[in-house]
Amino acid sequence: MDVVGLTPVIPIVFAFALPLFSIIVRGDRKIIQAYALVGTGLTLISVFKLFQLVYSSDKPLVYTFGKWVAPIGIIYEVDRLSALIALVTAGLMFLIAIYSYRYLEHDEGLEWYYTLYLGLEAGLLGVLLTGDAFNLFVMIEVTSIAAYALVAFYRDRGDSVFAGFKYALIGAVGTTMYFLALGMFYGAFGTVNFADLSAKVHGSDFPVTGSPVGNVVIASGVALALATWAFLIKAAIVPNHFWLPEAHPAAPSPISAVLSGLVVNVGVYALIRFLYTVYGGSLTPELAHVVGVLSTIVIILGAISALFGALMMNVQRDVKRLIAYSTIMHMGYLFMAVGLGTQLGLEAALFHIVNHAIAKALLFLAAGVFIHAVGSRNVEDLAGLGKKMPIATFSLAVATLSLVGIPPFNVFFSKLLLFNALMEKSFALAMVIVISSVIALVAYMRTFYVVWLGKPRENVKLREPMSMSLICLVLALAVIIIGLTAPLIIDKLITPAATQTLDYQNYIGVILELAKNLR
């Protein structure tokens, strides 16, 4: 088994073995923590190896399960886009696993926490690596079920359980929509493999599965609309955003970081796969019209959610809820960029996914240090703690400045790319980025001012929890380093990835070569 097929298997094996393992070690917290670190660490090594392999090869890597070649069997097909996001995912999951130990020191059930955590990681990696639309559905469900349960982790607190219920209900509706869309795709094209779908959409033949049936344009329109609706729910774009500002704050802070930084990317990534790989490039005029209408809707909803998220940030008293609205804003940016359908738009979206994941995780983790210290999420309860915890305050400052888009930090460069990409389409869309950033700046600065310079409510004695603060420091340094080397990263990592994703013929060709041997 090579590294492509192995990668998601590692966390899922560790996840399923953990409940049994915790009985053997009688729930010893230190051993369970070490087990989780080994699990996430091995995954990180595997993903890093995969990342190196993908970037050194011209074609996407393929893994066929049980040697059943597509379109008959399920395959994994990894291009640079998925490998880059997977590397960020595995890296952040490893660091957040270190952070979680101290954060959950007062809570029971560390073994269940890590079972779900590793399951979530397996689901995320599966979404990124898969080359099959139905496998994407299964992996989205794996990710989602782990996420629902982790949101309701504090099961004695009504708000957590209710937020988890709301998230699960709306998430289940969304994934069922996607399942219906898959039925439509199968009915029209006779396949659910991405490469095969893409070949059929572009009018070329594929072995075994035959030619499309019925009216392809109507089927594509209905199926794409249902699938996009599901992805809009998963990525919390207005008007499907209402679960996010309750679900993300109600989870433990490390899980908020995972949800806001990584899990929402699932929707964006899946939409990129459909719009760029399956329905990318030159299409027949009718199909191009369908995709054009869909892209326009996605861009408009993205712009609305960017402005809405920025405005709602300013009326929040709960610090985690404020950050959650910021996630809605950034998802809006990503959908605007994805809807453009250009190379620059894809580059901007990919770079922003990476930067937003790191900076948003850092922001939740830094805020988590303060929340852990006082046990409250109200901004005013956190007043004046900043001076007692210098490392966490430094990280909080780096994260807020970065997310607003101040020059030396990483998000500035992806916002610049977004601005340039949207400028090609219209000036008004580019101004949405500027205006929402300015509005968000006000909200961030108010929070930061209170935490750093506010008067403490009571004289609390606090020591900085080093294992948590050091993770924040590592991520803060990552934010600064990515910011300083941004031109190099765009040149070496982002542009090749975007070029490869736009080249859908290459994506089909790799599978076609395997499928030719089938008869």
Partner: protein, 134 residues
């Protein structure tokens, strides 16, 4: 006649989807929301099974005993498309996991608040979560 039955079955399924979405959105009772969600999931599954179905006679189970040209042509003549059924059984299993999780959350909410009415639970949620004025 067959076309009429076909159309009415599909229309009935789409109507069921609409009603179940209404139930998810508008019923205040959490258990009824869960029931509406299961109806929605099952209707979607049935629609996908219907995609693979065709009216044929005689009909045989979609099993290919051995690989040869005659067996394959017999299979194509007498069997319905088995792949949607394979997709649906996966979706049924996943749907069970989600429904069980939601049921657990409803039970936990009932333990915490003593009610499954979403309006009463909403009144008793902590004030901070509402944001804005306190």
């Amino acid at each position: 006649m067959i076309a009429f039955i076909w159309a009415s079955v599909i229309l009935a399924l789409i109507a069921t989807i609409m009603i179940s979405l209404y139930g998810i959105a508008r019923r205040p009772n959490l258990v009824k929301k869960l029931i509406a969600l299961t109806i929605f999931g099952d209707t979607a599954n049935l629609l996908v099974v219907l995609l693979g179905y065709r009216v044929i006679y005689p009909v045989a189970p979609p099993v290919l005993p051995y690989l040869s040209r005659e067996a394959l042509s017999q299979f194509v003549e007498t069997a319905v498309d088995p792949l949607p059924q394979a997709l649906v059984i996966t979706a049924v299993v996943i749907g069970m996991a989600v429904n069980v999780l939601i049921a657990v959350l409803v039970i936990q909410l009932y333990r915490l608040y003593g009610t499954v009415d979403v309006r009463k639970i909403g009144e008793r949620l902590p004030a901070l979560l509402e944001g804005g004025e306190q």
